[in-house]
Symmetry: C2
Subunit: 168 residues, 2 copies
């Protein structure tokens, strides 16, 4: 069995799979008489026929360690998940290995981070650790847009150990 | 001077201007082995050349009553604002009157509501009441996409009076 410990989500580590959506550092520009900072174009929605929809996903909590049964991908579009509350969630992606999922990578988001999976990137289902809503930006249309790959031997994904002395 | 009291935001009242993005009632479908409810296609991103970007706007708080100096509109795309924390914010829109803003309408969102302004709808700038981050989905490209209309006599927008007995 593959055992992974979720790593901190960083733009660099996630770049092969998609974008990290976060307000990091200074805003790209100030608008509205300086009252608002715009962190510009953190990700793009790349969907067939320009059919980009906004949805809310209401997720229930997953227990850890996670034992995901499958990964999936979407041939017709990117898919972004932005949490509407500050709690972290678990992100699982896989490298592509000749059209099948290869090496797995697991991440734990920091508060305020979302992700945008690029088109055709293998990824796990939404895995919040508490009940949590997400704004999801993806292809909304009638064409088939889901491929699934079921693991014969599901991996185990552990959360990082909290630093010593961090809470009870 | 025009004085408006912000009204509760409902899909029906907002329909001439755009979409309300909220998880109301039962989900449209259950996915992920029943672990996640999908509120499907609550809004569409309608942007020229399919150039849809995801941005974060970091807004500072506005004092009330509001005295907005202008409204604006975007000829190249819709623009969605989804709050990343539960506090309500103020939404100002105007009917179109021969290419200029006409009758104004002000709304106060409920917790968890976002809005998607349709293309070319006159609207006010982002007006949170506390410091607040939003995911913004709009046109990201190089073509000019902003028209502004400055009020000669800015309106005043008041918040609804809280019901008697609601808090200190």
């Amino acid at each position: 069995m593959t055992v992974l410990t979720a790593q901190p989500l960083t733009a660099g580590a996630f770049a092969p799979f998609g974008d990290v959506i976060e307000a990091a550092g200074e805003a790209d520009r100030l608008i509205n008489d300086g009252k608002c900072g715009r962190y510009h174009a953190l990700a793009h929605a790349d969907c067939a026929d320009g059919a980009v929809g906004l949805n809310i996903f209401r997720g229930t909590a997953y227990a850890t360690p996670l034992r995901p049964k499958l990964v999936e991908r979407h041939p017709l579009g990117s898919q972004a998940f932005m949490p509407l509350s500050p709690e972290p969630f678990v992100v699982l992606v896989a490298e592509d290995d000749g059209g099948l999922p290869g090496t797995l990578h697991a991440f734990l988001t920091a508060s305020g981070q979302g992700v945008n999976y690029h088109r055709n990137v293998w990824h796990g289902v939404l895995c919040p650790l508490v009940p949590q809503d997400f704004l999801v930006v993806d292809y909304v249309g009638d064409a088939p847009n889901l491929e699934e790959y079921e693991f014969t031997d599901p991996p185990e994904i552990r959360l990082p150990r909290r630093p010593a002395g961090d809470g009870p």
